[in-house]
Structures are given as C-alpha cells and as structure tokens.
Symmetry: C2
C-alpha cells in the first residue's frame, strides 16, 4: 500500500490483543511486525522477527532453564526493553509505538487499537478446556489444537487509542487487511466505538478476504472459523463482516463464489490477492482502492 | 577461598542494595558478579559481566533512543529475563539465586542478604543535592561526583534472607571480603539481625581491609570514606568495623599501621592482600583463616 499511496496518508490500526508480559517485558508482536515490515527490517523467510537476527540471549536462557518458547532475538529484545522502560515511565503505548516507528523511519502512522491492555484469551477444546493466552496457543502450542472459544479480556473497559476513531471517520477508504477475522480483526472490533465507526463508514470499508480457496494462506484462520461455527470460505468471511464492510475483495480462485458474497449483501471484487512479492502487493492495493471507487 | 576450603562449606551473603529494575528487568549486579565469577564466566578485563560477551541488544537499544548507560550483554540478559520471570511467578530472590547458581555449576551456597528489595540511595553533593540510585551514581556518573550521604531504602522492613543469620551463627569463620564498607558491606549490616549476629560472633569475624595504602584498589571506597567523615585508611576501616569485627587483615603496605588498628581494639594480621591472580587470592584466604585461628 505504501507503494501506491503516500505513506503519510496511511494510518494503520494494529491489534494489541496478542500483547503479553513475558520475562517482565511488554511485548506487542503485531505492532512490532508491522513496524519491522514497514521499516524493511522483517525476516521474510520466517514471517516473524528481524532479518539477520541473532538469538544469543535466548540460547543462554534455555541453558539456565528459562522459558524460551517465545523466541526473542537480540535486536528485537531492544524494542521490548525500550517499550517496557517507557511504559514504566508513564508513556502510553501509542506514544511508544510512535517513538519506535519514528526511530525506524516508518512513514505510516501506527496506532495500537487501544492504550489499555486487551488480552486475547483462547479456550482450548479437549480435557479440562484450559484457557490460555493467545501467544501460548499460537506460538507455544503452534496453534495445533482445537479451540472452543475466544474472548478479549479487558476489551470492555478499553478505549480506542487517540486517533483511532478519527482515522476511521476521516479515511477516504478503510482497508481491512487479509488477517485472521477472529483473533486479529476481532479484538479491534471489540474496542468500544470501533464497530460503530465502521458501520457508519460501511460503504467505504473494503476488506480483503484472508481465506483463499477455503484455506488461510498462513496461520489457523481456516480452522478457527470452522471450530467457532463459521464457514472457512469467502462467504463465511462475508457473513462475519457484513454489518460493517461494504466491499469484500476475494481471490480469483474464489471467483465462483462472488455472487454468493453479493447475496450476503456486500459488493465483491475479484483479483489476485496472494502477496508473494511487493509488486503483487502493490497491485492488490490498487485493486482495493479501485473496488472502493 | 574455594581453592582453600570445600566450596560446599562456604556460604556467601551478597549485597542486594545495588539491585534495580531497569527496562522492567530485575537486575542484581552483585549476585550476578559473584555467580559469574564462581562459575569462571566473568570478564576479568572489565571487572563486570561475562567473558566473550556480545552487546547486540544494547547497540540496538541505543539506536532507537533507549537508555544504554547500564550495559547489559546479550548472554547476561538471559539471567535478568530468567530472574524477572521467576520473581513474577512468585519465587523468592533466594530461590532464583540458588536456581541460577545450580545451573551455572556454582558449588558455593549463595544467599542474597534479603528477599525484600533494599535500595542503596546516594545523595550527591553540589547543587540541589539530588538523590540517585546506586547504579546511577556508580555506573552512569562513574562515581566521579562527591557524595553527601547514603541510605538503604527498604532496609527497615527487610528481613535477612533464609539462612543468612544461621550461616553467621554457625560459621567457623565469618569472612568480610575487601569490599566497600559504606555501599557494599553497609547494606548487609542494615538488615535487621545481621549486625547483632556479627557482634555475637565478633571473635570469629575476620575482615580484609579494602583500603591499601590509603586507597581503594578499585571503585570509590576511599573517596566515599572521606566524604562521609571517615579516614581512608586501615585505621578508618578498623574504627567502622570495631563493634563487630575481631580481626582486621591489612596489606603489607600498611604494616606500619598495625598497632594503630590494634589500638582501636581489633586484632591485626599483616599479609599481601592484593589478589592479582588466583594463587595470591588462595594465599590470602589461607592467611584469613590463619588469622582467625
């Protein structure tokens, strides 16, 4: 998208339901992934963390018996040290996010969905139905377990971060990236005022389906949808988003379902959506804006 | 000392007044220095941290505008991550210290002076007389400023850690290492019951003077003594320790002051005290035990 419009005209509202405190450090995985990606520092092979990262601290932590399932690279650690120190000094997550983005040369305005902690909690299916934090499910268990339910702890009392509702109100187009509807988009919708703001802008909200040919390109979105009673298809996504999304962009692989999406009440655009390189990603961004116009 | 007696027969009671929370991490510099040194992992060139350490995280932290005056190495960070996580889980500092020491293969029993936080606070001389934490004074300001006073925040309500008073009560010899009397030995003495236990064992308490020929071998002990109204000499140390130390071991360079030490009421042994290598350190340990016998 930053290749198609001026980055200064983009505001990214980022999920913080994945955030956690680990080893005393305030970790915001989605904010960091967006920051690193926009800064061109991301590891494109693993899909997380920094390119050329080292893991000296984690290797040592493993040696002394610490928890090392959430792999924090040495350079990545600096981000968490910085964030934790600033939060302890009284800075908001919004402020810290802006500071780090500026230091990384990110031109897009990055906003956490909220400055208050919201935690995506996952109840696992099976014996005892334990409830675990999202990263426990996603990273530690490698999302290889069935899910009974999902809730967003703290969302009831969390306010949208400064600028979030304004950005939705004022945007030419609100783009919903092809992200997990349940655990990535869901937490943002759970923040007071966000869903209402989106409903008001419904005609200008364009979502890209994270489901292509019935499957998530990565992660557990397809299984989660089914486990929670939805269809793992562009139609299932359309039904979930119908109240607040005007247009759903689906992949050419799902062209045959375009009319079914329209039957749910959304406009539907068909285009290649799999972002295998920057050129295809830019083309998708153009298609998204064209679908809105 | 571990070359002279069985390490399993040694209990080290370690100052935690230097501890601090930085970047959200629980840092115990003295415990770590003792652990790393006994594990043979210490950096003998710098006098702090680990040999062969890397500073990837700190370099990155500096790049994004974080506080980097307290240099945490990548491997060293693992210790702080582990300690912070375990304390958050409810473990005591004693327990965490024992766990790390065991993982590092340390045979000496290491005890923090207290499981409750005690913070050595330093009031600086000069304009405004600001009060700062010990590491701010020691590391950030490189102890190159005059000190008006020192206090041990939290010491009034801190209890000796489990085993501390028992170790003093039962030891064949209580050895006071050649450490800063004000800010390294002082915090331990400030813990309820410690001074009384030492007074009871006074005949069996042997201290090695940290002052040689009027100077500290390293650090600000000599200036601190003078700034706080004491003599920077073995006699000054003897006066500070007279109530609870039976024997003061002084360096040959101070042989001429042995009678002045005795005049304060302590026995005095004269021997080489400068530990330039392991052999000289072992010889000093033998002299210390001989002075007690």
């Amino acid at each position: 998208m930053v290749r198609v419009v001026d980055p200064a005209d983009i505001t990214a509202i980022v999920n913080t339901g994945d955030d956690m405190i680990l080893h005393g450090l305030a970790i915001s995985p989605d904010i960091d992934t967006v920051t690193y990606t926009l800064a061109g520092m991301n590891n494109t092979e693993t899909g997380w963390g920094l390119a050329g990262e080292s893991f000296t601290a984690m290797t040592e932590l493993e040696a002394i018996g610490g928890e090392f399932w959430f792999r924090l690279g040495d350079r990545d650690l600096a981000t968490h040290l910085y964030r934790t120190q600033r939060l302890a000094e009284g800075a908001t997550l919004s402020a810290v996010t802006a500071e780090v983005a500026a230091r990384r040369g990110v031109g897009v305005k990055l906003l956490p969905m909220s400055d208050q902690p919201v935690r995506t909690m996952v109840t696992l299916a099976g014996e005892g139905e334990p409830e675990v934090g999202f990263q426990h499910y996603f990273v530690r268990l490698r999302h290889s377990v069935a899910v009974r339910s999902v809730r967003f702890e703290g969302a009831d009392s969390a306010a949208a971060a400064p600028g979030v509702l304004e950005a939705i109100d004022r945007a030419h187009t609100v783009v919903v990236c092809p992200s997990n509807p349940i655990v990535s988009i869901g937490p943002i919708l759970a923040i007071d005022g966000v869903r209402d703001a989106l409903v008001r802008r419904r005609d200008d909200v364009v979502a890209v389906s994270p489901i292509v040919a019935g499957r998530a390109l990565k992660g557990p979105a397809d299984r989660l949808l089914v486990e929670l009673g939805h269809d793992s298809s562009v139609v299932g996504v359309a039904r979930l988003y119908a109240d607040w999304v005007g247009t759903l962009v689906i992949d050419e692989a799902d062209a045959g379902l375009a009319d079914a999406v329209r039957a749910v009440g959304l406009r539907c655009a068909v285009t290649p959506t799999v972002m295998t390189d920057a050129g295809r990603a830019a083309a998708l961004a153009r298609s998204v804006f064209a679908a809105r116009d």
